[in-house]
Each structure stands twice: as structure tokens, then as C-alpha cells.
Amino acid sequence: MPISITNNLPESHVTFEHVTFGYNEAHAVEDVTFSIERGNFVALIGPNGSGKTTLIKLAMGLEKPQSGRVLLFGEDIKRFRSWHRIGYVPQFASAFRVRFPATVADIVKLGEYKGIDHTAIFRRGISPAAEKALLLVDMWDLRHRLISELSGGQQQRVLIGRAMVHQPELLIMDEPTSGVDQAGQEQFYTLIRHLRETRKVTVILVSHDIGVVLHEADKIACMNCRLQSYTDVNELSDKDLSALYGHKVDMVVHRHE
């Protein structure tokens, strides 16, 4: 089969091509086209119900587009099987609503999944990869604690550890710092900076906190069912944001320089 020559650059990690999706009659995501390149840190922003979470679900194949298509690492999501290349951190795991009986180490080890394995039930101990991930998210000392006993910020770090254990090239996160205190937030972005510097991880982050993402991300996608704008963070204007949120927004960017 000849390789189709499209205008996707080979280093594109996620590509949306005219993607439309809706739960009922109304479209949650409408005709979205853009691509996220290797090493980018893209923040998805927009008001509530603007389709941000739906868009990342489409990116991971958790929802199927009604029209258009999604490519992951250049491959159509329908045929995509290289799940180890992706790490996903949801806002919270459904297990956090119950007293899930697992330790921090158990959860991080879940990230090592490689298919049906009859020895999984007998496996004890912590692999070097899991140890590294636990150290990375600074949860090594708490590795034997039950996750239900942790704070929101700590649980979030465990989920990131779980996502990082197989060293993904693409990390997709849905509002990872909501409900996390200031110190926890600071720690989170320090970790993301570290991951980007050391591992060149591509990051897609859904966020409500425009102030923070403006000086952490390098690209901003403004969603309001449609993609309103997709620009470098420096090029984003007050006008873009005001149009997105329907009222005047002043950008106050505190840069660290």
C-alpha cells in the first residue's frame, strides 16, 4: 500500500482532521482541525462545556468521531495499538470514589500493563521502572500507603507516576491540578518542566487556570465547541480570550525570567 502523503509532518503526535462529535443532537466538538507536534506543551482552554475533555477523549480513542479522523503518531486511532506511547492522567480516577484497596506502589505498577499475563496475580515487589516512577513523582516514601488515605494532590501524583512508568512520549492530562493546593500546583508544574527537559515529553493539558498555563505551556488551543484559536502562547491576545469567554479578560502574565 502506498504511503499516503498528507500535510501531516512526521513528528506530529496528535492530529485532528475535521473532527466532529456530539452526545445528542448538539455537537460537543465541531469541525476541529489542528495538530500537536512532538515536544509541544499544549494547553486546552475554554469555558465549561466547550468540549475540552471530549476533545482529549477523542484523541485517545475513548470516543469515536462522528466525522473526521484522529491520528496518533501518524496512525489512524482506529488502528492504533501502541498504547505504551501514551500516558493519561484523568481529573480523578473512578476508584477515588470508593475506598479502593491498593497501595501507592500497586497503582503505579498498574502502568506496567503489557497484556494478559497469568503471573500478574502473583507478582510482588517493585520493578526498577516502578521505583523510578515513584521517585520521579516523589511518592517513594509513601509507597506502602493506601491511596484512599492520600490528599488530592498526592493522589494526582500517583496517577502521574502510573502514567510515567512506561515512559510515554505523549502525556495527556485533564485538569490535573483542580482541587490541589498552591504548593501542590507548584510541585506539579515543576515535575512537568522536569519531564519536558529530561524526556522531551509532549504534553496536552486541559485547564481552567489560564493564568498558570500562560506561562507554563508553549501553545494554547482555545475551544468553544469549535477551535477558536491555536497559537503560540506569546501570540495569544486579550481579544482571543475575551471572545472565548464572552466577557473582557485581561491577561496578566507573570513570567519567571
Binding site: W83, A95, P101, T103, Y113, I116, R162
Partner: protein, 277 residues
């Protein structure tokens, strides 16, 4: 040999009940943590309807119950994952549909009600060789599936979306869990009755979760509590001449109360009350 084992029906009840008592909480651990405790109750009602159909047709009520319950499990799972309706609405829909079918069968079939009584409340004396063999088969299947799909079951219980992004075939795993639950519920119904089956799936798990241990330990302890409850309940019912199903479920409840009490004592000891004022 103790008197209780001189009756072959009690020996059969101990074998079938022990296996079901182990299998029910093993599956129950995954169901409770998915907040699907009531799925057992719904499938039990379907199984009662299945048994009613079997009695009405005059053939293999247990087998018909197993088949209907397994089919209902698949339908439930499909309804649950579709956006058609919420999870608990799907449970209600299947439960009441099957119950109304059962009532209609009761009204047109003479004498179905008398035989169905045993399926509603459990009937240790009618547990036959077929039940024993079916339970052995089920026990082996549940242990094998939990062993082989352990990681998949844990992953999809922890968070289905995260599991999918890790490459876990979540939908297929869920169907397997639902069908096994349907079969377990039907066989457990013979011992504890359709109305109390849910308790055997849920109570031992609640007790085990109180221990605050890891997943594997929780799973094994829940299974052990289920088995102990069945053995104790059967023994008490035999010597005191009371309903086995009630005795089994109340034993499980007592174990839950004891574990919770011990836990409360322990936390009080380790964290002394702050001085007031």
C-alpha cells in the same frame, strides 16, 4: 462423623455452598468497587424468572435460570455502556421487566409458585448432584478467570478510561465479569435464595474492605469470609432448625460487624481523642 454429614443433602449443600460462598465475594469485590453491588440483585431476579420458565416448561429450571441470567448480564452490560440510559436505570429496567414476566408465568402455570418458593428463599434440601457439579464447574471457572484476567479486572475497576488507554480490552472484560456474576448468582440462589443472593456477594466484601489491605488480600479474605459464612450458617440452620439462607447472611453480617468493631477500637487506640475544650 458428625451428625450433620450423615445426611447426603447436607454434604451436597456444604460442597455447592462452599464453592458459591467463595466465588460470590471474589466477583463481588470487583462489583462493589465499581459501585455495582445491585447488579447481583437484578440478576437474581432474572434468575428467578428463568427458574419459573423452567418449572413452567417442566425442564431443567436451574439450567434455564443460568442461561437467562447470563443473557441478561450481557444486555445489562450493553445498556450500561451505551449512552441510552444511566447505570441504575438499566438495573431497574431489567429487574422489573423480569419480575413482571415471573408473575405472569406464576399466574398461568399451575403449581409453579410452590416450586418457585425454593428459588426465592433458598432450599438446602433440594440441592441435587447437578447443582454440585455445576458449582464445581463454576468455582473452577471463577478462579481461572480471576487468576488469568487479574490485571485486566483490577485495571478496569480502578478506572475504565485509564484502563482503555493502557490497552486493556475493558468491554470484553466487563462482559466476562457480568456473565460469571449471572451464573454465580443463579447457583447461589439455590442455597441462599434469590432474594438474599446480593448479600452473599456484598457483605463479605464490605467486611474485607474494612481491613484496609491491598487488593489481593482483600479478594482472598472476602472469599474466605463468604465460605465461613456459608459453613457456619448451614451448621447453625441444621442444629437450630432455622432457615439456612437467613443464617448464612446473618453470619456474614456478624463478621462484618466484628471486623468493623475491631477496626473502630484500633483507630481509637492509635489516635487518642483530643482533649476537649
Amino acid at each position: 462423623m458428625p451428625e450433620i454429614f450423615q445426611y447426603s443433602f447436607m454434604v451436597r449443600a456444604f460442597i455447592a455452598g462452599g464453592i458459591v460462598g467463595l466465588a460470590a465475594p471474589l466477583l463481588g469485590t470487583f462489583l462493589v468497587l465499581r459501585r455495582l453491588s445491585l447488579i447481583a440483585d437484578t440478576l437474581a431476579h432474572v434468575a428467578i424468572t428463568g427458574a419459573a420458565i423452567g418449572i413452567f416448561l417442566g425442564h431443567f429450571p436451574v439450567l434455564v435460570a443460568i442461561i437467562t441470567s447470563a443473557i441478561a448480564a450481557v444486555i445489562l452490560e450493553r445498556l450500561r455502556t451505551s449512552r441510552f440510559m444511566a447505570s441504575d436505570s438499566a438495573l431497574a429496567l431489567v429487574l422489573y421487566t423480569s419480575l413482571s414476566l415471573a408473575l405472569i408465568i406464576l399466574s398461568i402455570g399451575n403449581g409453579v409458585g410452590i416450586d418457585l418458593f425454593g428459588y426465592l428463599f433458598g432450599s438446602v434440601v433440594t440441592v441435587g448432584k447437578g447443582d454440585v457439579w455445576a458449582s464445581v464447574g463454576l468455582g473452577v471457572a471463577v478462579l481461572a478467570i480471576v487468576w488469568l484476567l487479574y490485571s485486566e479486572l483490577v485495571q478496569s475497576t480502578f478506572d475504565p478510561d485509564m484502563a482503555r488507554v493502557s490497552g486493556v480490552p475493558v468491554n470484553r472484560v466487563n462482559i466476562v465479569l457480568a456473565v460469571l456474576t449471572g451464573i454465580t448468582v443463579t447457583l447461589a440462589m439455590r442455597i441462599v435464595g434469590g432474594l438474599l443472593v446480593g448479600a452473599l456477594i456484598v457483605f463479605p466484601v464490605l467486611a474485607s474492605l474494612q481491613l484496609g489491605r491491598g487488593f489481593r488480600t482483600t479478594l482472598l479474605v472476602a472469599g474466605a469470609i463468604g465460605m465461613v459464612s456459608v459453613f457456619t450458617g448451614l451448621t447453625v440452620s441444621f442444629y437450630q432448625d432455622i432457615a439456612a439462607s437467613g443464617a448464612i447472611v446473618l453470619t456474614a453480617l456478624s463478621l462484618l460487624a466484628i471486623v468493623s468493631g475491631l477496626k473502630a477500637l484500633k483507630t481509637r487506640k492509635s489516635a487518642p481523642l483530643k482533649s476537649q475544650g
